[in-house]
Symmetry: C2
Subunit: 375 residues, 2 copies
């Protein structure tokens, strides 16, 4: 279901077929945590050219509940979005948000951060929930150990993740429907920042056989150079003809560096969360719209951008909306930041097609500084 | 600049020309308090067919400041809205929001509710601020006495309002530009719930001569029947060939009753504020989307509505967004409630054209209940 159409060094351009249409890669997936990309409607997502969004299993299983969503006909129908959706397994947020976690071989028991009610998330249950949601791409349940940890802890964790992945695949194959383009399931490579453990995790995960492979456990505080090394190591251990997804990454520069190392798919809350906090991405780096210097700035957020926000509104107006606490500011800022990300991905794909990715990468580094970026 | 095209009993249909285009009346003006209709973009306003919006002088003079907006080319340019804007005089919010008010013949001194800084709002300054904002329709500064008050207090207040109105008109005529369709200025009739004082205030205000007349000081807690009586009394004292604006009103039923008494223009925060609080207007009355009964309701907010929200999303989804605190819910609810208001106004205008307003009014009363409406 994945076709590579161009390569340029390690960078790849391709097309991933899903039950809800094709995705051009490298792709950025806006995060629709609780069934909505915060501050936007699905019309906005269409207008800025989002081709796939991400939903968070942890949030949706708690509220409104995956059974309720299944009774509504699945997540696409429920949220009014007819393009592809990838859902995570819930694992990452169980480990970062839930209360009183108890992890054992079977799975993870936890209490909801919303009302304290008890839940059990097993590999099988993670598959079932994502089947209820009707995700086009489902992720296996993995353990996300806190970093830094010793090699022993990380190795034990990736072995547990491997056993869970095997159980997820068994459950997935049991449920797999007869659709011509059925749900796809991606495995997740863990291993912390230990290159040998990344290799081991990749080999174990690939041995199970998935439609795609994710790289988990990165962008959790390690230096960028370390992350890039781990990404290089991991992609070199993954099948060339299948999609690779770097989970939760990242800044525009991180995405470009990961594309340079053979990654195809990305998600991150940075463009949406930072938008609501008044940080706007521009071709020359990030700006904080609340700064007084923008109070009388009649220029657009990014002079190089043609999005709705930049075509119609000034920095002065965006600053005013931010200072006044107007929700409209959150919407306009989010539209711009996501447009910036999606435009960057379009430029990446185009550069790869023309064999000019390295040139694009150098140019981007020269003009985009990470000075003000809150990642 | 105002042309009556149809009358049906006391109800009127007309067209008001402004510097930014024509408005069909009766019209509802969504409230864009601080330079944005909360949770919407101007694209949304275009899509739902808003023909004029309201801006609040009090909020804008404090933040970002009317001088700053004037330097940006005026409010239309600043907020990216090319259709008409009406601004209030700031008076109402000085009386309801500002701190340490001191009122005297000259005007009103107050301190900003934002940072305590001192301001002086005089009739002349209210005119100047609205000129800075570049409003198509500007309002005179009026005093808004607390209700209930004695007839003596109300009479003294309407006399002050009259003297202020005269000063506003002098200042307005001084500044009036050479535009073929320049800014218009509306006087405001006060007088509380005393019918004779309403008559006196109307006569005094009309004696000055404005492009239109507003009815102020209603919908502040008095019974609906009292408000309707005051509206009838006031419109009967106003020139037939000029627009009449009932400030801050109201519920859909109040609007229909006021149209039946000859009012042409309305504004109210109800549809937008209630939307953010989860109250949705439907042809059969208001519903509170947070109620558990909507958790699995796959129908649209209002089966009789064709707005973006009702065409694409279920009550179950809107309830989920509300419960999850997603801003997208505020946007979708606001789009629906304003569409409901604007559609109701379109139906009112059509009914008047066909001489069927009374039929429409009766039908609306029969199907729309005020049961759950938070006004």
């Amino acid at each position: 279901m994945f076709t590579l159409t161009h390569t340029d060094g390690a960078a790849r351009r391709g097309v991933l077929q899903t039950a809800h249409g094709a995705i051009e890669t490298p792709v950025f997936m806006p995060v629709g945590t609780q069934g909505a990309v915060k501050a936007l409607t699905t019309q906005h997502l269409d207008e800025i050219g989002a081709s796939i969004i991400l939903g968070n299993t942890y949030h949706l299983m708690l509220r409104p509940g995956d059974d309720l969503i299944a009774r509504r006909g699945g997540l696409h129908k429920f949220i009014g979005w007819n393009k592809p959706i990838l859902t995570d397994s819930g694992g990452y947020q169980v480990f970062s948000l839930a209360e009183r976690r108890k992890i054992n071989e079977n799975g993870v028991e936890f209490r909801s951060h919303l009302d304290g009610s008890p839940y059990l998330l097993t590999p099988e249950r993670a598959v079932d929930i994502q089947a209820n949601l009707g995700a086009d791409i489902a992720m296996v349940l993995d353990e996300c150990p806190a970093l830094p940890s010793t090699a022993e802890v990380i190795e034990a964790s990736l072995e547990l993740t491997f056993r869970w992945a095997r159980r997820c695949r068994v459950q997935f194959l049991k449920k797999k429907g007869p659709d011509p383009v059925p749900q796809q399931q991606f495995g997740i490579v863990q291993g912390g920042t230990f290159l040998e453990l990344r290799r081991k995790s990749a080999e174990l995960t690939v041995s199970i056989g998935f439609e795609g492979y994710a790289i988990g456990g990165l962008s959790v505080g390690e230096p960028s150079e370390t992350m890039y090394e781990v990404v290089s190591q991991t992609t070199s251990c993954l099948p060339a003809n299948q999609p690779r997804y770097l989970m939760g990454v990242g800044t525009p520069l991180d995405i470009i560096e990961a594309v340079a190392r053979g990654v195809d798919m990305f998600d991150c809350v940075l463009p949406t969360r930072n938008a609501r906090n008044g940080q706007l991405l521009t071709s020359e780096g990030a700006i904080n719209i609340k700064n007084a210097q923008y109070a009388e700035d009649d220029g657009p957020a990014d002079p190089a951008c043609g999005c709705y926000t930049c075509s119609n509104f000034s920095r002065a107006y965006l600053r005013h909306l931010y200072m006044a606490g107007e929700m409209t500011g959150g919407t306009l800022n989010t539209l711009h930041n996501l447009s910036f990300y999606l435009d960057t991905m379009r430029r990446i794909r185009e550069a790869i097609s023309f064999g000019r990715f390295e040139e694009f990468r150098q140019g981007f580094h020269q003009t985009f500084t990470r000075r003000a970026l809150i990642s």
